[in-house]
């Protein structure tokens, strides 16, 4: 046999071999052993399956809760930004016109968006939503209130 092993190494090897033998054991033997030990195989299977399914369920609920919380946060964020965008298309166009006139926001406006006539109401609303998301509308409103040009 090979060089001398410690007790721990011997026992570890023995336990590994026993573990592997469990994986090779046939189903009838396993069930017979359980019955001999006075354990009902069906009841034991039900207990273990319930324990495992509870783990899955708890994890799914945790993920669902996290997703719901994330969704609520996003909605809250959107709701906070909504009042910055006017309700009527005319007022939205007016606000957008004010925005494109600000020289310090020029970098955000492409040539296409400088031509207000060519933009649909929907284009403007979408662009304003993007600006609100970036926090620019909030700044623009503050600047307007402060009288800053």
């Amino acid at each position: 046999m090979s060089n001398k092993k410690t007790d721990q190494e011997k026992l570890d090897s023995l336990m590994d071999a026993l573990g592997d033998s469990i994986l090779q054991e046939n189903d009838e033997e396993i069930l017979e052993d359980l019955l001999q030990a006075g354990t009902d195989p069906d009841a034991e299977a039900a207990r273990l399956k319930t324990m495992m399914l509870d783990t899955v369920k708890a994890f799914q609920q945790r993920r669902l809760r996290a997703a719901r919380e994330g969704y609520s946060r996003e909605i809250e964020k959107l709701e906070r930004k909504k009042p910055l965008i006017p309700d009527s298309p005319q007022e939205r166009r007016k606000l957008f016109s004010l925005f494109v006139q600000q020289p310090h926001y020029a970098e955000f406006v492409t040539a296409h968006y400088r031509n207000l006539e060519g933009l649909t109401d929907n284009d403007i609303e979408t662009y304003l939503e993007d600006l609100a998301e970036l926090g620019i509308l909030e700044k623009l409103n503050t600047e307007e209130i402060d009288g800053k040009e």
């Binding site: 007790d7 026992l11 023995l14 994986l23 189903d27 399956k49 899955v56």
Partner: protein, 216 residues
């Protein structure tokens, strides 16, 4: 057998939580019993390092590592029992190295792949150990004494069973089943009969079903 490092299962091939639940539902009583025995075996191997965890505790730990994506199960490559036993082996091997349980969930293999030594290597296998601290040394000593007692108990249980002693000695030296058969000239049938006897005797003595505590 392969020496290739374990590869992570691609996300698109990983089983979903619904598929995992379905696999659990489909387990037979023999399969759940096999998983429980294997979990008990792994915890028993840890001895005091199990830190009072039981075989039952390994189930949710292994499952959570699967559900949170730390491990991935490709059901086309390995069945659920194979995945779970691989995960249990990997988790308990990391605990045995003295890592904290939360650290064992960070990096690991998804499917059991054995190297030439018959071990399933984890990604932490090659991490350098800085040596045990005082608490670790105390645990190691406690485990050493417990191991000695168990080996004495095993010797006592099989003192009149020469064939079982032959198999046990070979196991202790790290021989795999085919190596044991070759070493002692045993047929597959003889070997299986002896192993069954060993398992049952150890089980009755509380060394396979209820942990090492009976002889501590």
């Amino acid at each position: 057998m392969t020496t290739k490092p374990p590869r992570r299962v691609p996300e698109e091939k990983a089983a979903s939580s619904a598929e995992i639940a379905a696999a659990i539902e489909a387990l037979t009583p023999a399969q759940t019993a096999r998983l429980k025995r294997y979990a008990d075996n792994r915890i028993r191997k840890l001895g005091p390092k199990a830190d009072r965890k039981t075989g039952d505790d390994l189930f949710p730990i292994a499952l959570t590592s699967l559900l949170d994506g730390t491990r991935r199960w490709d059901k086309t490559k390995v069945d659920f029992v194979g995945f779970m036993t691989g995960a249990m082996k990997s988790i308990t091997s990391n605990w045995a190295r003295g890592y904290k349980p939360e650290e064992t969930l960070v990096l690991d293999v998804d499917v059991r792949r054995k190297n030439d030594d018959g071990e399933t290597p984890g990604l932490l296998d090659h991490v350098k150990d800085d040596g045990p601290g005082p608490q670790q040394r105390m645990i190691d000593e406690e485990k050493r004494q417990a191991d000695e007692k168990i080996l004495d108990e095993v010797d006592r249980l099989f003192k009149d069973d020469e064939k079982a002693q032959m198999v046990l000695t070979a196991w202790e030296e790290g021989y795999d089943p085919s190596g044991v058969r070759e070493l002692w000239g045993l047929s597959q049938n003889d070997y299986d009969t002896i192993v069954r006897r060993i398992r049952r005797t150890l089980g009755r003595a509380g060394l396979t079903a209820r942990g090492r505590s009976n002889v501590q």
